[in-house]
């Protein structure tokens, strides 16, 4: 990043993302061992370059004797799936509602914005914790919770853009020519709204991956024995001194993935919508 042009660092970010996706997709082939099967005998073996480590477990094993490298690979799946699915849900929901809200205005718009205000005032983590307590913790429910709580950001941006766009001349002209609302929304407004949405979505994926890790860290995310980088961090936190590899590798994995996504997001923002505030 030092001395590299913005394009180059974005390319680096893209490479990181692609590698992670490949890791996730090819996990069954790449992973040396079953990530879920536990084996008390092999408990807490260090990575292979340390004393007591072995090539059988290149990055060591965790408290139940499961292979860390395999869990990292499978864990990539969880992070990517949760990140993408939750953002898709939040995006579709938020963009849809934002479009309708900004275009039609009226009491529906007011109600929706009020609902958004109420949801924002509710501490996000408590909401997630409570909803997961009701529904039970599972991959699907975590995606649901993270998705549904994320709609507001998109809705607000899209609403704002829609509000200003609907006044513009090309919309008036199209309407004069007999275009329906649906046509206008789909063909004219939505394409203009997508660039900022894409930028926000990209950063959202990064934030969602961290949010999933946070939930798992609190013990509320994907339930064991499923490998999730956040859950691995939680398991590792009690063994900081005696099992440092448990917390280090998943943390580095999250860091690199999220870094890559943020770099790509920066580039996208410069390309698509330089008006947006930097630093987001």
């Amino acid at each position: 990043m030092i001395g590299l042009a913005r394009d180059q660092s974005a390319a680096l970010g893209l490479i990181v993302i692609c590698v992670t996706v490949l890791m996730a997709v090819l996990a069954p082939a790449l992973a040396p061992l079953d990530p879920v099967k536990n084996s008390l005998v092999d408990r807490l073996t260090p990575p292979m370059w340390n004393a007591g480590g072995s090539a059988k477990h290149p990055l060591g094993t965790d408290t139940l004797g499961r292979d860390v490298a395999s869990r990292l690979l499978y864990g990539a799946r969880v992070s990517l799936i949760v990140g993408l699915a939750a953002v898709v849900i939040a995006g579709v929901l938020g963009v849809g509602l934002g479009l309708l809200s900004g275009y039609y205005r009226g009491w529906a718009d007011d109600a929706l914005m009020r609902l958004g205000d109420v949801q924002l005032a509710f501490p996000v983590l408590v909401l997630a914790v409570a909803v997961l307590a009701v529904l039970g913790a599972s991959l699907a429910n975590v995606i649901l919770v993270l998705g549904v709580t994320g709609w507001i950001t998109y809705a607000r941006i899209v609403r704002g853009e829609t509000l200003s766009l609907r006044q513009r001349e090309f919309v008036e002209a199209a309407r004069a020519l007999g275009a329906t609302d649906g046509y206008l929304l789909w063909r004219h407004i939505l394409p203009n709204v997508l660039p900022p949405v894409t930028v926000v979505a990209t950063f959202s994926v990064a934030r969602t991956i961290i949010a999933e890790a946070s939930l798992s860290f609190l013990g509320l995310g994907i339930p064991p024995p499923a490998p999730s980088w956040g859950a691995m961090l939680d398991e590792g936190r009690n063994y900081i001194t005696t099992g440092w590899w448990l917390a280090l590798f998943p943390g580095v994995a999250i860091l690199l993935l999220v870094l890559g996504i943020n770099l790509v997001g920066d580039w996208l923002r410069d390309a698509l919508d330089p008006r947006m505030e930097r630093g987001m």
Binding site: D117, A121, P123, V126, A130, V131, A213, F217
Partner: protein, 307 residues
Amino acid sequence: MRAFLLRRALHAVFVLWGVVTAVFFLVRLTGDPTPFLVDQSATQQEIADARRHLGLDRALHVQYLEFLRSVPRGDFGTSIREKRPAMQMVLEHLWPATVELAAAALLISTGLAIPLGVASATHKNGLVDHASRLASLFLQSMPSFWLGLMLILLFAVELGGLLPAFGSGGVRHLILPAVTLAAAPLAQNVRLIRSGMLEVLQQDYVRTARAKGLAERLVIYRHALRNAAIPVITVTGLSLGFMLSGAVIIETVFSWPGMGRLIVQAVPGRDFPVIQAGVFVFALIFVGLNLIVDLLYTVVDPRVRLT
């Protein structure tokens, strides 16, 4: 101004009503706290008695109406776990613990951000600039609790207890958790101030001020920063809410006895009164902060009318 304030006040009341209603029904969906209170070998009858004792056997709308009536008095009931007033418990955890942590983090994340951002902008592409941009990128890409764990590993373990890793009780205890909490917002603010300053420094009025022979420092701090401050205020307002929420994780990692941790721990314990009181306080702070942020806008940018 008065009309504005009145409208905002009504809006705030509405939001608070929405929040307490949502939390009231949500927690009751999570289940029944009575099994916690009775012996392991309790019979069904004993458990039914316990429910009656807690008032949880009445119809839902009855409980709700009573709840609404007692909220304005500040009465959120008695904690199921600790048998004392729930609001008192929440306030004890809010002050000083959470406020200290949030205030310290706010101080670090804005206080450090201003000189760093300004230095970055004025010496664009210099060492400070590159270093702070790199650091910002990394800090915004890592989970806060991982940063916390690594800091614990470094300061409390490796460096032999240079800084304490747990609990509250003095400035030394506050350093690690506040730094961890401030890290991501600091990074964000630095980038914001930097980009804001960069834009503003190219503006006409700045060139005019420089041409008039004004000292560079005056140019930067009196004119440019003021305009660059607007996005910072927006983001600080939002990030305060985020900080209160994110404090939960930091409080867990560092065993900091704050309000966030209290609420999150009350959920698996099904301690309804505490959850309700805590969420209400949180929402109150959030709504209040938003109002302050709006008011600050008028100070910083007289072009903004409070419509």
